[in-house]
Symmetry: C2
Subunit: 128 residues, 2 copies
DNA sequence: TCACAAAATGAAAATGATTATCATTTCCAA
DNA sequence: TTGGAAATGATAATCATTTTCATTTTGTGA
């Protein structure tokens, strides 16, 4: 099913589980703390390794906090963007139809090829 | 003229000058090396301080390399986005009319307030 | 010009995330 | 069962960035 269920090991699955439970974005350090708190003795190194492999397999999203720290989130397999609450971290996956068109148009206009893009919206959610 | 020409000191001006000369994005470490190579004995701490104040004053843009390292670029004072060449680093500032609208629409739809956004396009430029 | 406080500077140490090492343990197929 | 490959995690190493703090520069009023 998954892109590489073959290469998925116990740690990968643990990380997927904790990401499912927590929902939003979390850093490697935070995920490690959560697992530790729950009694899992997993090492920080392994957390980093698992996250890296999940990112490689496109099973989790990696983006950056404002201070540059990497944060991870389980994500669907279709291309999408995020609406993130700056206060509580709640995240909504949204479509970016307008963005896709914009990126393509701009790339063409300036003669760029092989283009990708990033687009995130952040603000304060209704609960906060 | 500028937002805070009053608070602009010698180091700020040096950094602006080197950013003008180099054109694209560069990290604090790179800018420091360039200045050193040119015979300027400026300290790394001062480079960081100057960049920080220039970012605060909206005189330079701060964004992140894929590995999270902060990179800086002199920029106009109007809100804009970037089209960056993954190969040579060349950057074009572009308007994001479509993005602005998209961000606003999505934020409203999900009840977010006080929203901002980021959007970058990256690819290979025509020269590369 | 002189004195002196505020601002600027930079060397060195501290911090904090991420990565590299490497010895040990767990898996698994032959 | 067994030998080697994969996985694990403690520890050390990296590396960008921030803090500290002592020194230097700058500006201003006497
Ligand atoms: Zn919220
Ligand atoms: Zn998109
Ligand atoms: Zn290029
Ligand atoms: Zn915009």
């Amino acid at each position: 099913m998954g892109i590489s269920t073959q290469t998925m090991n116990k740690s990968d699955i643990k990380l997927i589980a904790v990401l499912e439970r927590t929902g939003g974005f979390a850093s490697a350090q935070e995920l490690h703390q959560i697992l530790r708190r729950e009694g899992d003795g997993i090492g920080l190194t392994t957390v980093y390794r698992a996250l890296q492999s999940l990112v490689d397999d496109k099973i989790v999203d990696l983006l950056r906090r404002e201070d540059g720290e990497a944060i991870y989130r389980l994500c669907g397999d279709t291309h999408h963007h995020h609406l993130v609450c700056k206060s509580c971290g709640d995240t909504v996956e949204i479509e970016g139809g307008a963005i896709e068109k914009w990126a393509k148009t701009m790339a063409e206009e300036f003669g760029f090829r092989d283009v990708g893009h990033t687009a995130e919206i952040f603000g304060i959610c209704s609960k906060c």
